[in-house]
């Protein structure tokens, strides 16, 4: 689905990626995590062809994103964090934009809009930010593109909409599709995303499924400060300390708290780097 090899990219004065390699297969909902400025949005724009790498190769759906080939664009929907909607009604938007996506499913779109409670008769400019986002989410999901990129999709959504978002995205997923969801809201996405890509300062420091992580580490809530040598990371949480241990063969697998995993990896970027299957990245 996506192959990135030795990608180098930098903004005028800010180096970001120096030799980024990344493989993303189809049929999964990838979570893309990272602190502010880590390069998440840049990575998504490189994938969708809105930014060109200075070096290296990127292949998305068999095309080179830089060329912005219509074949690729027909099968890729990218919902950015900040978006623009023209001053037309939802119906007009549907009639104008849907023909560009050959696999667009209008009945699914109407169903998603109904689930998200988005009005189709209003002018798009009169909708609130959250409503606009839900409208575009519905459109993106209904486009049935092989690759769906969502940059901070739950920002601006109310609590019921976030739950609805998880349900709707999960229901729209098929083996032929890949979703990449960039987010800071790991609590919102914990049940949805797997595998997880974590980037830090332009480097991919984790590209792994949560199952793979659970085979290597366990997470236990301790009452007191954990002092064992096996603790790789711990942080204070309500009710004690969440400790992350290297898992021994005799230990049972535990569920992985995505937020703790993220904090652990950011604190120790090399923690999973050498263990995951397809990670490598370069820090400028």
């Amino acid at each position: 689905m996506i192959h990135m090899q030795h990608v180098r990219f930098h903004y005028e004065k800010k180096p970001l990626f120096t030799h980024l390699d990344l493989e993303i297969p189809s049929g999964t909902i990838y979570g893309l995590l990272g602190v502010n400025g880590a390069g998440k949005t840049t990575l998504l724009k490189l994938i969708s062809g809105q930014l060109f790498p200075q070096d290296g190769t990127i292949s998305v759906l068999g095309c080179t994103p830089k060329e912005r080939d219509p074949k690729m664009l027909q099968d890729l929907f990218h919902l950015p964090e900040e978006f623009y909607l023209p001053n037309i009604t939802a119906q007009q938007y549907l009639k104008t934009y849907a023909p560009f996506y050959p696999k667009f499913d209008e009945s699914a779109f109407l169903e998603y809009c109904r689930e998200f409670e988005v009005s189709l008769t209003q002018s798009l400019h009169t909708l609130s930010f959250g409503q606009k986002k839900k409208f575009l989410l519905s459109f993106g999901l209904a486009s049935n593109t092989a690759l769906l990129i969502l940059d901070e999709p739950t920002n601006g959504l109310d609590i019921p909409s976030k739950s609805q978002f998880r349900r709707t995205v999960a229901s729209a997923m098929t083996d032929e599709r890949t979703f990449i969801i960039s987010t800071h809201q790991v609590r919102d996405m914990g049940t949805l995303i797997d595998p997880v890509i974590i980037i830090d300062a332009g480097e991919v420091v984790c590209n792994s499924t949560l199952d793979a992580v659970a085979q290597q580490f366990t997470m236990v809530l301790e009452r007191t400060v954990p002092s064992s040598e096996d603790v790789v990371y711990s942080e204070q949480v309500p009710g004690g300390y969440m400790a992350m241990y290297r898992r021994k063969e005799t230990d049972e697998e535990t569920s992985i708290d995505l937020e703790v995993l993220f904090n652990a990896i950011i604190a120790q970027p090399g923690l999973l780097k050498n263990r995951s299957e397809s990670i490598t990245g370069g820090l400028a």
């Binding site: 809105q50 664009l73 890729l76 900040e82 978006f83 623009y84 023209p86 560009f100």
Partner: protein
């Protein structure tokens, strides 16, 4: 089919602006013609209405058309949030570029000429009814109109390039760039003329300016060639260069170009 959808998208998103513009053009024409008819009725002096239409048509064709051309890419290439929609629209870059190019180069003058033609019918009937003025309509297919559109096509290409090249103040920057280029070309031409007509320069230097018709006749062929070369540049090479360069620029636009 995709190309028509792109055109439809362009027009739909600019529908309100274009309707306001068309209304403003019609109202300006109406006021102008009513005023002229009133003056004619008062003074018994009949103004040539067709000339009025032609002058106003030129104004709207060049000023309106070149401003429209200058701003046609402003949102889609250089606005941070709107750029995403344009770049991600599933169509080839050529189709997306041609849609905008043709709307401003062909669509605008054709629609403006038709708007003037239709408006003139209504306005002339009104002025006839109130002031008894003779009916003189605007002819969208007259030679003068077609010549104006031809010149517009040649000049518009430069503004199309400016629209894709400059990130802000596209129209003003294009006008300034043309001015600067004009000065450079003028100085270069002057230097060439100084070399080519060196024997006559002595007279110029001593302020004895003599228009020697025999000298002009001697160089009639040269002037003819220069005029021909100039025409080729004006009608063909410059427009083609501008369209090609503008397209290359659109292909190379990235998210970092948005401001």
């Amino acid at each position: 089919m995709i190309f028509l959808n792109i055109i439809k998208r362009e027009l739909l998103e600019k529908k309100r602006l274009l309707l306001i513009y068309a209304t403003a053009v019609t109202l300006i024409l109406l006021i102008q013609e009513l005023f002229d008819a009133f003056i004619a009725w008062q003074t018994q002096f009949i103004l040539p209405a067709a000339e009025n239409y032609s002058g106003t048509f030129s104004l709207f064709l060049f000023v309106g058309g070149l401003i429209l051309t200058s701003t046609i890419f402003a949102q889609d290439l250089f606005n941070k949030s709107a750029q995403h929609n344009y770049l991600m629209l599933p169509a080839s870059q050529l189709e997306k570029f041609l849609a905008k190019g043709l709307i401003t180069a062909v669509g605008y003058p054709v629609v403006l000429a038709l708007l003037f033609g239709i408006s003139s019918v209504c306005i002339e009937l009104i002025t006839r009814m109130f002031f008894g003025s003779p009916i003189i309509l605007f002819n969208p297919f007259s030679l003068a109109t077609l010549q104006q559109i031809g010149h517009y096509l040649a000049i518009q290409s430069v503004f199309l390039l400016g629209a894709t090249y400059f990130r802000k103040a596209h129209f003003v920057k294009t006008v300034l760039a043309i001015g600067l280029l004009g000065i450079i070309v003028g100085l270069y031409t002057a230097a060439l003329m100084r070399i080519a007509f060196a024997p006559y320069m002595e007279q110029l230097r001593s302020m004895q300016i003599i228009v020697d018709s025999s000298a002009i006749q001697d160089h009639q062929t040269l002037f003819g060639v220069l005029e021909w070369v100039g025409s080729i540049f004006y009608w063909l090479i410059i427009p083609l260069f501008c369209w090609f360069t503008a397209y290359q620029r659109v292909k190379e636009v990235e998210a970092t170009d948005a401001v």
